[in-house]
Symmetry: C2
């Protein structure tokens, strides 16, 4: 398969690109650090990326920013940022990317554990993650040409917890998490939220 990985230089993206590269042709893209760049919050930027890359069998998005902050401090602008970036950015990866995916291919985007296991400060992120899962459940019903749409909900990633010196139970290595994306791409899931056991 020829697979476009958006966010290929990130914490999950790096091991994912390596894992997929063992048996597929990976086309890496990222915000700034790859030969191919795209800003997922900008629809024109995504369109340009998809046109440059051409036909693929799968698109994976492991990119998307959202803001963690106490509810009382989250401003209208903060919500807007989260909606434009991690939420609509990935909705647009699906909407604008689909015509470039070959028959029977797939697209996989990224939500996260805070969707169903929130914590103080996660109001905007939980909204974004849950909203994306709702979108994928519905959009998959209308995907044409046998294309599958799925979302991976990563748990806390060990490397992230270590970088931020956070003590949250249930962390998994980025490589383990990458396995969920491989399952979404190589398996038969459709409209699914792929995750380790909830609360895991």
């Amino acid at each position: 398969m020829r697979i476009l990985v958006i966010g290929a230089t990130g914490t999950i993206g790096r091991p994912l690109a390596k894992l997929l590269g063992q048996r597929h042709e990976v086309v890496p893209a990222s915000a700034t650090k790859s030969a191919l760049t795209a800003d997922i919050a900008n629809a024109d930027s995504l369109q340009t990326l998809f046109q440059k890359v051409g036909p693929v069998d799968a698109i994976v998005c492991v990119a998307g920013k959202a803001k963690m902050a106490p509810l009382a401090q989250l401003s209208a602008a903060d919500f807007q940022f989260c909606l434009e970036n991690k939420l609509m950015g990935q909705v647009n990866v699906v909407r604008l990317g689909m015509p470039h995916v070959r028959d029977g291919g797939s697209i996989c985007v990224t939500s996260g554990v805070l969707s169903h296991t929130p914590m103080p400060g996660s109001a905007a992120i939980s909204l974004v993650n849950a909203g994306l899962e709702g979108f994928i459940r519905a959009a998959a019903l209308e995907a044409p040409r046998g294309i599958r749409l799925n979302v991976v909900s990563p748990p806390w990633v060990t490397e992230t917890l270590q970088a931020y010196k956070m003590d949250v139970p249930g962390g998994r290595s980025a490589l383990e998490v990458a396995g969920l994306y491989v399952e979404a791409i190589e398996g038969r899931a459709q409209g699914a939220t792929l995750e380790f056991s909830r609360k895991g």
Copy 2:
């Protein structure tokens, strides 16, 4: 209790206002048909409403528009409309309404069955409904002064199905659905999505 009902003239709002009015003081508001009006998509309009109404024990929102259309026809503007209206409109009912809710009071907003039981055409609505549920799960962790935040996920409402001549199983009368809101307001639920058994 003194309860502000936003959307008090709608299909669910009417029986809900009647039901709550049997043992509480109801302050009805709606987009155009009440003495008190507000456009939930407009934060200033909501602020004005809350200031006019003053302190309440509960706020219920049974208002919010979102667009049903085939995925291939949903434009960026359609998604934007849904995000501003049913999603952020109700997030703002929570954010801006909270200071006007008395200690130990509650706020209840509205998602819908398409969050978890999507159908073709519901991609934007499913996103909005699921996103709102994710927001409430998280925001409830940070609600101050014993305030409870919940979301009701109505099934298809019989009156709506009849009005649109739709044949969908699992419909419940608007009065039955109103009971879910009464439970959210009078019960002890916190951060919950109140619904009849999933799949209706």
